[in-house]
């Protein structure tokens, strides 16, 4: 099982949840965060998004935050997928799935993981609007 992935293609939530479930019968709560492309951001209408990533380092960083989460929280398994390239409005961008015995640990780990991903993983978002293209560069 590849626990972290960066890919152009869309992903299936159902399949990723099945993967998490198949790792242990001790799982009682699965919390997922799915980030999707909004049509509006800070007053600008968005037509589509383009993601660029630093391939080697981004995968390493995803592995690193996954392992930190497994150490820090009482959880059983974590899967992370981030898409790259062009992403249309309403499409999936990122998926984090956390399986744990108890829901509180799954919620804490999932919240921590997406915050951390947005801080340390070298992936960049460009918003394509009617007025032009803008790299999003504010700090998390």
């Amino acid at each position: 099982m590849e626990a972290v992935k960066i890919q152009k293609e869309d992903f299936s939530l159902e399949k990723e949840i099945e993967k998490i479930k198949s790792t242990s019968k001790r799982i009682g709560g699965i919390v997922t965060f799915l980030g999707t492309a909004r049509d509006f951001s800070k007053g600008k209408e968005i037509k589509k998004l383009v993601f660029e990533h630093y391939e080697d380092m981004a995968i390493e960083k995803l592995k690193e935050i996954r392992e930190k989460a497994l150490e820090r929280f009482d959880i059983i398994e974590v899967l992370i997928i981030h898409r790259t390239g062009e992403i249309g409005i309403g499409e999936n961008i990122v998926l984090i799935v956390v399986g744990a015995k108890h829901r509180k640990d799954a919620f804490s780990a999932c919240t921590w993981l997406i915050d951390e991903l947005k801080k340390v993983v070298p992936i960049w978002k460009k918003e394509i609007t009617a007025d032009g293209e803008i790299w999003v560069e504010e700090h998390a």
Partner: protein
Amino acid sequence: MVSVKFFAGLRERVGTSEIKLDISDVTLEELIGILDEKTPGIKELIESGATIALNRSVAKLTDVVKDKDVVAIFPPVSGG
């Protein structure tokens, strides 16, 4: 040979995704000085908030770059 990669908005402002430099045993600070001589203005771009990674780990300006190392310079990340 040291490879210097640029990403996202910084890549567009620098105008290239990679510069190869035939250097070794210099600090990242010295490397930026060398880049700025070749492409004036890069130093300012980097100092206005870029992250510098050396072999895929975030690095300090005093870290030393050796032959075959990979340096990456990029703006604040915005994934997720």
